[in-house]
C-alpha cells in the first residue's frame, strides 16, 4: 500500500480542498494548477462546501481488489454547487433509490482496505443524500 501517496492527498480526501483561479474565478476540483477554463496558472486554495447533486451514477458488482468487501456499491458523478464534477461513491442511502438530480452532501468514510488486519485503511470523501431537518 502506498502510504505517502494517500497522505499527500489528505486535504482533498478529507476536506475537498481544490483551487480557485485568480484570473477567471473558476472553481477547480481536483486541483490541477492550470485553470481548465482560461489556461492561466491557478494555485489559490479553495475549500468546497461539499454540497451538490447527482449528475450520473451506476452500481458496480464486479469490483477491483480492495473494494470487494463493500460490493455492490454505487458510484456517481456529483456536480458540486460551485461547478466542478467529482467522482465519488454514494453512501448512507438506506432504501432510497439513486436518481439524477438528487441532492447530496460530502461525508468522510472508509474507502478501501488491504484485506489485511495490519494493512492501511484509506479514508476519503463519499456523498450521501442531504439529510432533511
Amino acid at each position: 500500500m502506498e502510504i505517502p501517496r494517500h497522505w499527500r492527498l489528505k486535504k482533498q480526501r478529507y476536506a475537498l480542498v481544490g483551487e480557485v483561479c485568480p484570473h477567471c474565478e473558476k472553481k477547480i476540483f481536483p486541483p490541477r494548477d492550470i485553470c481548465p477554463n482560461c489556461g492561466n496558472e491557478a494555485r489559490d486554495l479553495f475549500a468546497f462546501s461539499g454540497k451538490g447533486e447527482v449528475y450520473s451514477y451506476t452500481t458496480i458488482y464486479e469490483a477491483p481488489s480492495g473494494y470487494d468487501s463493500t460490493t455492490p456499491y454505487t458510484v456517481a458523478l456529483v456536480k458540486l454547487d460551485e461547478g466542478p464534477i467529482v467522482t465519488a461513491q454514494l453512501t448512507d442511502q438506506g432504501e432510497q433509490p439513486t436518481e439524477i438530480g438528487m441532492p447530496v452532501e460530502m461525508v468522510t468514510r472508509k474507502m478501501r482496505d488491504d484485506g489485511d488486519e495490519r494493512g492501511m485503511i484509506v479514508y476519503g470523501y463519499k456523498f450521501r443524500p442531504v439529510l432533511k431537518n
Binding site: 492527498l9 481536483p30 450520473s56 451506476t58 458496480i60 477491483p64 480492495g66 470487494d68 458523478l77 467522482t87
Partner: protein, 387 residues
Amino acid sequence: MEDVMITGVGQTPVAEHWDIGLRDLAFAAIQDAIHDAGGIKPQAIYIGNMLAPNLSNQAHLGALFADFSGLTGIEAVTVEAADASGGAALRQGYLAVKSGLVQTALVLGVEKMTDKIGSSVQAALATTGDADYEAVQGVTPTVQAAMTMQRYIHEHDMPIDGFAGFALTAHKNGTGNPDAMYRSGLQLEAYSSAEKTSDPMNIYDVAPRADGAAALILTRSDLLPSNPHEMQVRIAGSSSAVDTLALHDRKDLLYFEAVQLAAGKAMKQEGVLLEDIDLFEYHDSFSIYAALALESVGFAIRGKGWKLAAEGEISIDGRIPCATMGGLKARGFPGGATGVYQAVEAVIQLRGNAGVNQVKDASCALLLSMGGPGSTGVCHILRTRRV
C-alpha cells in the same frame, strides 16, 4: 514523400488462450505477418500493449518479443495508451516509415488478459483511469461507461433496448470471422432479457476481454517486395489526440472531442470526406462508446448514434458498415492489441478477402482506436492501391 503501405498482416484468434503465453501469442502474429508480406524483415518493432507489466508481471516487451522471434539487433519498444495502445503503436510505425528513418516496421498488438481473473483484473483495468480521483473510489472502465450511458439515456429520448443494434450487428458479423471469439450470433430476445452488469448496461453492452495478438508489416511504396497481394493497402491518414484523463473533468460528457479531432485530422490529410468512407471500425468496448463515436466523427447527429444501429445502417450492406469482422463485442476485446486487429481486418476488407463479411467495393476504411472514455483517440485511414 513515399506512401506507407501495409503489406503484411497476421493475427491469432481472440480467445481465452490458457495454453498460450504472452511471447508465443506475439510470435504467432509476427510470423504470420512476415509470411504474408512475402518474408520481408522489419528493422523496428512498435508494440501496442496495455497491461503486461501488471497482468503478466512482464515489462520490456520489445526485447522479449524481438529476442523470441529471432530478431535481436533491431529496434523494439512498447507504446502505451490504454485500450488505444494498438492504434498508438500503428501511428508510431507510420511516423517511423514515413520519415524515411525506418524502411520496414512491424507493428504488433498483444494482450494477455486471462492469466489473472476477477478483482485483480478489474484493479489492473482501473489503472487506465485517474488513480487519485477515480480508481480510489472503486471506479473501473465499466463504471465510467455505465455512468456515460446513464447520462446519455437521461438526456436523449430513446426506447428501452435502444442500444441493442450495436451488439446484434457485431455478433452477426462475428459469425463470418473465423478468428472471432463469438461466432454464434445474438437474438434481440437474448439482449432484452440479459442480466444487468452495471445499470443501465447489460452483459451485451460490454465487450468480452480476452487474449490475442495481431501484427502488421509497414513499408514504403518504393520498397515493396515482389508481393503476392495484387491489391495493396496504404495509410492515407493518421492522427491522434487526447482529452482529459478523468471523465469528471470533461466539458461535455457526451462528446468525444479527442475522437473528433483525430478523425478530422486523419481525414484532412488527403481530403477524405465522410461519404468516401466505406467502413468504420470503431472502438465498441461498450455500446455507448460506439454510439458516441458515430456522433463524434459525424456519421450521426448528437443523440442519434444509437439510431444508425437500430435501423441497420451500420450493417455490412448499410450506409456505413461498422465492426465488420465482429468488432470488440464479438471478435473479442484484447485490450491494447485491439487497434492492430482493426487494421488487420480493414486490410482483409480492402483486399476483398472478407468472405461473407465483405463490404462491397470497399476502398477506404476509417479506424478508431480509443483509450478510456475517449481520453485518447487514434484514427487511421486505409485506402487501396492496385500494383
